[in-house]
Symmetry: D2
Subunit: 350 residues, 4 copies
């Protein structure tokens, strides 16, 4: 399948992405941030259908109880550090008041992955202003990848991880559609990493490029966490006309792409996926039944393929888009060396 | 809320109900049967949206995996004895072949409750012909209640139980709707039975009317089963325009009606509920997106009330519609004495 | 079944409850607070098994993804106002850092109901200090009920609502157990309220005691919200030895008690239930398999009954424990008049 | 990870597998059968903990409602053709009567995949005797693979499919464990097939080996079905001490192995997985709490890896173990040519 023009989640018309990145070394080392995925600018009053899936639930995504019940999403999706999910969640509630959304959506969706290896745990450096900045900056077009926004302090397959995105275009039930995926990738073991089936992680082992989880040679922190194994948040957007039950099915296809890159859903991982469809407009008059559109039975396979494939590529893009970062306690997360990647891929090509 | 004209699930236009009852004393005592609820005559090719809920899952309802995945139901719903769910399920598969439904629905929905106290366990007396008869006889209009069809051998609150039905009409999002409920009631303890809040089961205790679970005075079977506590299958139909996610919500409201009569979801009970909406037509062309109708957010409460209230009344109707039955091993299931019921209700009325 | 000595959730040994209440009229009218239910003092390192159920999901309870995945709960349970769930959630994360729980639980459970009818919406008056105060004050023994803690601004069946609690003691599988329930009750219509089956809400109608949702005679706010219909958080504790799958089953029994009082699971209601068992100790050594205890199959019914009955009474206790409150914009939430309640109950008694 | 001695699900001590295969050309072409996986010989009275996961639910597995509720499995697992799930399910109920299991398990687990391309649809050729034969023949040791038992008429990645099995041994929480997997593989597109990451299906395309879905050159049936895309049933056994919640987590890891071979969870696919643990004994006395063992938090990753890896290999083994079969209407399902497989693998090896 072909990618969309930007190979990004923003290829789905109306979807906006914004980042707020906080990197500082004083008074404590901070490598954190917030990413906002806005399904459409007026999502606060014109909801989208949505559904979610959890591969492994050692993580948080607020708002999913209401997504499951109503099948709807009525807020931007925030993604941030584990410690400050609540801050971003309450900010989005406050935003409904600021916007005067009287019948508003007080149950926003905010996910997280853990950045405490590079950023000081227990420091809580983000403020509502950072969240506001990420939201205000949300726009269409190209999406910055790697160590940015919520992805700032992330580690993936023991390389530097972060935000990645990709898209696919196709046809379902006779109509063109776009699927876009954005990931905050913070999971996985080196030895499991595969790119297009090639065992890149075995070829570029921790003897070649040290694990991001390594302690610096002298001293250093010994903090470990159940989140060490990491997590991945995957957001899937589409303009294909999906009902809530279909969005939920789509969300589960993130597992397929993730598994191909080397995800197992480790026990300490929060592998949480949300999918939404912008095709229907759910705001406005609530005094009469709505007419909505849906893909008929047995027409979703192209959308499933698109979601799995774009997820796979978005993770690889997160790895390729990230640069080496030094964080707290001398922790160094090395980027996946692109020259070695090319070399390994060539070695395994028929 | 008002009932529909028949106070039955068939008040939902297009819904059909048929029973096949098998009562014999030779070669073994049999008190069993099959009930079919047909969402619409051409449901095989024109599916309905559906959803389910389980209060306690010590029971079987085939086909729910596909209902959950697709949100659709494409077969009649069979209800029968625990032992012969498979027979009825395979019959419905065979029926798709007989009808030549080439792209057909091979995952039919068949539920059960246990009739082994009155009917000989391990006897497997039903045949595909009984299933065919129940289906062929399915029609609109009044629905026979009590010890008939799948409800033949059932026990409810230690009285004779069986099939009951009820309906409610109302308005949601400016449009009239009907909700119809059919139950196969086989659960509950005497002391928990309430009718409109009145503790009927405490007033008409087992000292007044013996428990249906009593052994006959001399000898008799001592077989007990994890199913002793019983089960209840609840089918909710509506013509309100509901998506799958909304059907699932509706199904859970059966719990509310059941709890008011005295259901706790006992550990050995299969309290399984399915709801479907006939408002949308899902057959035909699969080459382009469908347009479907849905109740908008915050307009479902009247439908929820209707489902809970009709469930409550359907259970009471199952009790009031059943007559005393003697089954295997001298087991006697006494009917709820209507004169005593009236007397007790009067005693508690303000 | 008998109640425990305090008829409170704290009858389950080790369970602690604390409240922080914030009532002020300047600079804006605030009627809010936080309640903490602590499964045991060292729950941070000695987890309890837990499970949850959602009757209607127009609400938030953070942390449930991890509860579902792991079957464990490793933090106090916070209950507060809808707007400030995030604050309380992040406070509990910070608390793990303050306590030095290095392998700690970063996914705390915090639920909410909406208090915006009595307390100024959009005011966000709570701080981490309030959360700390609720937690620091958590203790055993009697639990204050009504308009206190998270229950401060709540409305139930159009009377003043809030916090209520109850307990039951019984025997399961040959061992004594206690079930305790605490509710934050903020749901329901007047006409649906029943006490022990008696239609109290129809007898004490809004013509007798005005609805808490009434506007004051002159002017006043016209803000309404999807949360108007309200919500209820129900926490069930037990010392019966339950595995996670059994805790989830127990959580669903809250529906039974709620339905009997008059809950329907309204569409705009967040009816979210969590149950935990303190019987097993899940901390300590992780290097070898744990031995844990569990009720065997077919022995849970007494625990189910206890949970349903204690839920029913806890809601009534919330109503009986609350006093009339005047909030923002002249909104008055009248208490359920106990003299009228007694009168009505007597009228319906046989 | 290492395989067990037989590289089969029977490497988990106590697990038995039996097949019944029905191949005939008169009076209609039949290519079908039944496979039984017996968790332990006395599973009828000594249950095992279990859990399930559905990747895509266009399929049936009976009994999962009770597995979800109780966390237990008390019957052999049958796997057969879509049309005759009911027959096998009712046979297992009858077996409890034959064995005199008075408090028995009347909710057996039977899964299916569709064999109607090679075997005549609508023919219903299996009888209870075939089910009895599969069960009677269940034994330990090597497991026949390919076109046998329930796998007889199956197609996988457009090659001949069927039954495959594999196992892994490892250590979790300081104790050795075995994970065994058995699949009935009937899913997938040629172009998606990968073996150890190598795009075998693109290299051995339908121009090299015709698709099993091809019509014969002259005439032939044109029946297609929603099941054309196929299905896969995956059974995971382990002797690691897992609670129900942990079994459910394990079941989902089948997705990881399946995705790596080329499964997407197609819309018309029934990708249904069940996992059970034989470590605890759940029969006997029900009058007092049971003591059971469980892996502690954060010790399951080796078991997860084992399940994913054994699933991947079991599917490949199903492909490698099957021989070319000609079925009804001249349909030919060609085996994966092992010489070409070796050639392709060599081409892509570094």
């Amino acid at each position: 399948m072909m990618t969309g023009p930007e190979n990004a989640i923003t290829d789905v018309p109306g979807v906006l992405v914004g980042h707020s990145t906080l990197i500082r070394d004083e008074p404590e080392v901070v490598r954190t941030g917030i990413t906002m995925v806005v399904p459409r600018a007026d999502v606060w009053t014109d909801y989208v259908y949505a559904g979610s899936h959890v591969l492994n639930g050692d993580g948080e995504m607020t708002g999913l109880i209401w997504v499951a019940e109503s099948g709807m999403l009525g807020s931007p999706i925030g993604i941030t550090s584990t410690s400050q999910v609540g801050l971003v969640r309450d900010f989005l509630v406050a935003e409904t008041h600021r916007l005067g959304v009287v019948a508003g959506f007080h149950l926003p969706v905010v996910g997280e992955t853990w950045d405490g290896w590079l950023s000081t745990p227990g420091s809580f450096p983000l403020t509502a202003d950072h969240a506001a900045s990420a939201l205000a900056g949300a726009g269409p077009g190209p999406v910055a990848e790697g160590a940015i926004g919520g992805g700032t302090g992330m580690i993936c397959h023991e390389f530097k991880g972060g935000i990645g995105t990709s898209s696919r275009v196709g046809t379902a039930a006779g109509e063109p559609f776009t699927v876009g995926v954005l990931v905050q990738a913070n999971y996985g073991e080196r030895s499991d990493l595969r790119v297009d089936g090639v065992p890149v992680g075995r070829e570029i082992g921790v003897d070649v490029v040290p694990s991001a989880w390594s302690e610096p040679p002298v001293g250093g922190s010994t903090v470990t966490s159940p989140h060490d194994g990491g997590s991945i948040i995957i957001v899937i957007a589409t303009d294909a006309p999906l009902l809530p039950v279909q969005c939920r099915r789509l969300a589960q296809r993130a597992t397929v792409g993730l598994a191909r890159v080397g995800g197992y859903g480790h026990e300490s991982s929060g592998d949480i996926f949300i999918a939404f469809s912008t095709a229907n407009h759910l705001g406005g008059d609530r005094e009469s039944p709505l007419e909505v559109r849906t893909l008929p039975l047995d027409s979703m396979d192209p959308v499933f393929h698109a979601a799995a494939d774009a997820t796979e590529e978005a993770i690889v893009n997160a790895l390729c888009g990230a640069e080496t970062m030094t964080g707290r306690a001398g922790h160094v997360a090395s980027a996946l060396p692109l020259d070695l990647l090319v070399e390994v891929m060539g070695k395994y090509r028929a």
